[in-house]
């Protein structure tokens, strides 16, 4: 199988995966940026998302928990916000996408999780000249390539 | 002062004074409103102020279903006593004769027993409204001395008029004199209390509708 080198191909390959595959793959994407969140709820939810055999109840419970984490970490309207602190919000959002139930998510959950993960990385590097997003993109291609080749 | 002297006074000079105060007072009230003016709106209009204003003047008479379900007493009681007052004031033959004497205009009235029924409904409704105003927590918070005073000067003419019609409680001349006096009290307080809403609400509704209509909203 050819290596993925652009987002068009990246998204097409993700679209072909079933829901469980998308969820576990999304968990791998999020794993790479997990250190950017210091909310235990997110870490626990990512573990559940990564579990191929997770039950519906476990998935639901994890989704509730990580949604609360996202709400707690969102940038409040008119508040003085620091980008470096905001990365955790996107990690939580990525996990929400990964855990969204079949039929409830609009679009491709793994793609959404990937985009939010990149956003989390971008937050950290927003004040520097490095584009953290590009690095994350490369890492995600590598993760997907490994997954498809295994 | 005898009953008849009182009656002549309330029908004559007192009525003239009350009328002048009512008219002058309303002119003052309208001047107080319009002299404040309103800044021109420099934003690009989406709709018409005039159409919006006029629309709301009429539309606001009705209540949307959701709001009606939340405030049924206020709406029903409000309609009842306003209709009652309209029938009593404008469709009772003795009153029509008063208007004819003052303006030359006349129109057909309703049979007195029907007006009498409306008067009873109005009296009962006004009493219910008073109790509601006293007991409802929102109205209790909002209500001031003026709200109760206005209730009293609205209720008293209806009650005294009913008593005069049925010749209950005192000599006819005295009953009618008291009734007319109570109306004159209502007239002099009219422009300086919330009673003025009878005239100003058309302006308020128009402004509401105009502001919304400018933005293309029916309010």
């Amino acid at each position: 199988m050819s290596q993925i080198s652009n987002d068009l191909e990246f998204r097409r390959r993700l679209d072909r995966l079933d829901r469980t595959q998308q969820r576990t793959l999304a968990a791998s994407f999020i794993d790479h940026v997990l250190s950017l969140s210091n909310d235990e709820r997110v870490a626990r939810a990512v573990k559940v998302a990564a579990d191929v055999n997770a039950s519906n109840d476990e998935l639901n419970g994890a989704l509730h928990s990580v949604t609360a984490a996202a709400m707690d970490s969102h940038a409040r309207c008119d508040a003085d916000c620091k980008w470096t602190d905001h990365a955790g919000y996107f990690v939580a959002r990525a996990t929400m996408a990964a855990l969204s139930p079949e039929g409830q998510a609009s679009g491709n959950p793994a793609w959404q999780a990937a985009m939010s993960s990149r956003m989390a990385r971008t937050c950290i590097s927003i004040d520097s000249t490095d584009d953290g997003g590009e690095e994350e993109q490369a890492e995600q291609y590598r993760i997907l390539n490994n997954y498809l080749n295994s | 002062m005898t009953d008849v002297e009182l009656l002549l006074w309330v029908r004559g000079p007192a009525f003239d004074i009350a009328t002048v105060i009512l008219c002058a007072g309303m002119v003052i009230r309208f001047m107080e409103i319009f002299m404040l003016g309103r800044k021109a709106n420099l934003a690009e209009a989406r709709g018409s102020e005039m159409a919006g204003g006029l629309g709301t003047v009429f539309r606001r008479t009705l209540v949307d279903t959701g709001t009606f379900k939340r405030t049924p007493f206020t709406v029903v009681a409000g309609w009842l006593f306003h209709i009652g007052l309209f029938v009593i004031i404008f469709l009772f033959v003795p009153h029509i004769l008063v208007f004819e004497g003052a303006t030359g205009l006349s129109w057909p009235g309703l049979p007195s027993n029907i007006v009498d029924a409306f008067a009873v409904i109005t009296i009962v409704t006004l009493l219910a409204i008073l109790i509601h105003r006293w007991r409802d927590p929102v109205l209790r918070l909002l209500s001031e001395f003026n709200d109760y005073l206005v209730w009293l000067v609205t209720f008293t003419p209806v009650l005294t008029g009913w008593l005069a019609f049925h010749r209950v409680g005192a000599a006819p001349a005295a009953l009618i004199a008291v009734h007319i006096l109570s109306v004159e009290l209502l007239m002099v307080l009219f422009p300086f209390t919330k009673l003025s809403h009878a005239f100003t609400l058309w302006v308020a509704r128009w402004y509401n509708g105009a502001i919304a209509g400018y933005k293309g909203v029916k309010s």
């Binding site: 998204r11 709400m71 940038a75 919000y89 | 420099l42 934003a43 309010s219």
Partner: protein
């Protein structure tokens, strides 16, 4: 600049009173119906949240300055004048329990526009120093940094780069003579940055000639929320200057409700002149593009969808039909809430309320009104615009353990784009 003072506040209130205000106060009969239109009252049962009660300080000034008996009473010293203590006591009523949603203005039988008056009362409250600290800070940041949340252009550039990578499109910045200049709200940039990529895709398909300005991209106007017209005017002026310098024909207001009110309706009155460009809300533009056949949409969402009308866009802004037309184009099963469109209920978070930590508990409680609407409709998903509404909706639903996803109308449109700019994200 002079500091806050009661005298300045009092004088501001005097200046704010105009003919409509006088007509409104002259007509109020204390019927209490406005209480039942206000979600802060309906969900707490506390009479102090009655809208006309919130306006008591303004009414006092009107009475004593502009009515016959009021002036007489003041001159004779027999009526109680408005005090600084009154303003202090009223601060939470005016800022914590009012989103300027305007539902009260739709219900008052004598036609009072209470939200119009609350907006004016805030001018006096703010200048006398009685506004929530969170809003004061936001306004300062808006003036000095350009964004109430501290979002500077380099941060937006990073989000733009992200959107470009995601979509494969180039987003134009500072393009002179563009037809459209897009504004963004900090809430979108920080919480829903996918909005940027979404509009880029839509504009690409519609072949829209558009740009973002590096000088003025912030749509949020915290001057309006707090009620300081000078600051609100300054924030609008920045946008006007950038738009006129670039020579754009139209300025696009993003989903944010209060931003639309600020730039579309209050803006020209704040700066004292009409604009040399038109202002259009993103939903208006999308609907227009769809009507013109420039937006190709495919497939329909089969879920049971309902729509929450952001108050400043809908009831107060006039954009009521357009979101419905758009939703009907992409939804097979769109159902209205009970009490909808112009009578829809506020989410509870606008008008500076979500920026005010002191109001958190009240805000979440007020959300129960919206939850009641959703309980009646039982949708599979809730569609809305306005980033602030969306956060409040999500937060509220999570708080009350209700499993309904909240989706953006703009992003829903993007999901159904056909061909260029669709999921593939690259020009074909």
């Amino acid at each position: 600049m002079n500091g806050p003072s009661f005298e300045r506040g009092y004088n501001t209130l005097k200046e704010q009173i105009d003919a409509p205000v006088a007509a409104f106060f002259s007509s109020c009969v204390h019927c209490g119906m406005c209480a039942e239109a206000c979600l802060f009252y309906t969900e707490t049962g506390d009479p102090k949240y009655t809208p006309i009660h919130k306006l008591e300080p303004l009414r006092k000034v009107w009475k004593q300055e502009y009515t016959f008996w009021g002036k007489l009473g003041k001159a004779l010293g027999i009526s109680k004048a408005l005090s600084d203590e009154d303003l202090s006591d009223w601060e939470t009523l005016v800022y914590d329990s009012c989103t300027l949603c305007g539902r009260c203005s739709m219900v008052c039988p004598v036609g009072n526009d209470l939200a119009y008056m609350i907006r004016k009362l805030r001018e006096g409250m703010a200048i006398s120093g009685h506004a929530p600290p969170g809003l004061i800070g936001a306004t300062k940041r808006a003036v000095t940094i350009g964004s109430p949340m501290g979002v500077k252009f380099p941060a937006l550039q990073a989000q733009i780069r992200h959107a470009e990578a995601e979509t494969g499109l180039t987003l134009p910045v500072d393009k002179a003579e563009a037809d459209y200049m897009l504004l963004l709200s900090s809430m979108e940039v920080m919480n829903f940055p996918e909005f940027i990529g979404a509009v880029a895709k839509i504009f690409a398909q519609a072949e829209l000639n558009w740009t973002i300005s590096s000088e003025a991209f912030e749509a949020t106007n915290s001057g309006i929320q707090i009620g300081v017209s000078d600051i609100a005017a300054e924030l609008v002026q920045r946008i006007v200057d950038a738009a006129e310098n670039l020579g754009v024909k139209n300025v696009i207001s993003p989903e944010c409700g209060h931003a639309y009110m600020a730039i579309r309706w209050e803006g020209p009155n704040l700066i004292g002149r009409p604009y040399n460009f038109k202002v259009i809300h993103i939903l208006e533009l999308l609907e227009q593009l769809h009507k013109e056949g420039r937006l190709k949409l495919k497939d329909k969402d089969v879920r049971r969808l309902t729509y929450h009308d952001p108050c400043q866009i809908g009831r107060r802004g006039g954009v009521l039909e357009q979101p419905r037309n758009l939703l009907n184009a992409v939804a097979a099963n769109f159902v209205e809430m009970p009490d909808t469109a112009g009578m829809n209920w506020c989410c509870g978070a606008g008008g500076g309320v979500s920026a005010n930590e002191r109001a958190d508990e009240l805000r979440i409680r007020a959300f129960k009104r919206k939850k009641a609407q959703l309980d009646a409709v039982q949708p599979d998903a809730l569609v809305s615009a306005c980033a602030n509404c969306r956060i409040q909706l999500e937060e509220g639903l999570e708080e009350y353990h209700t499993d309904i996803p909240v989706v953006s109308l703009t992003e829903t449109i993007v999901e159904h784009l056909d061909g260029l700019g669709s999921k593939e994200g690259h020009p074909s």
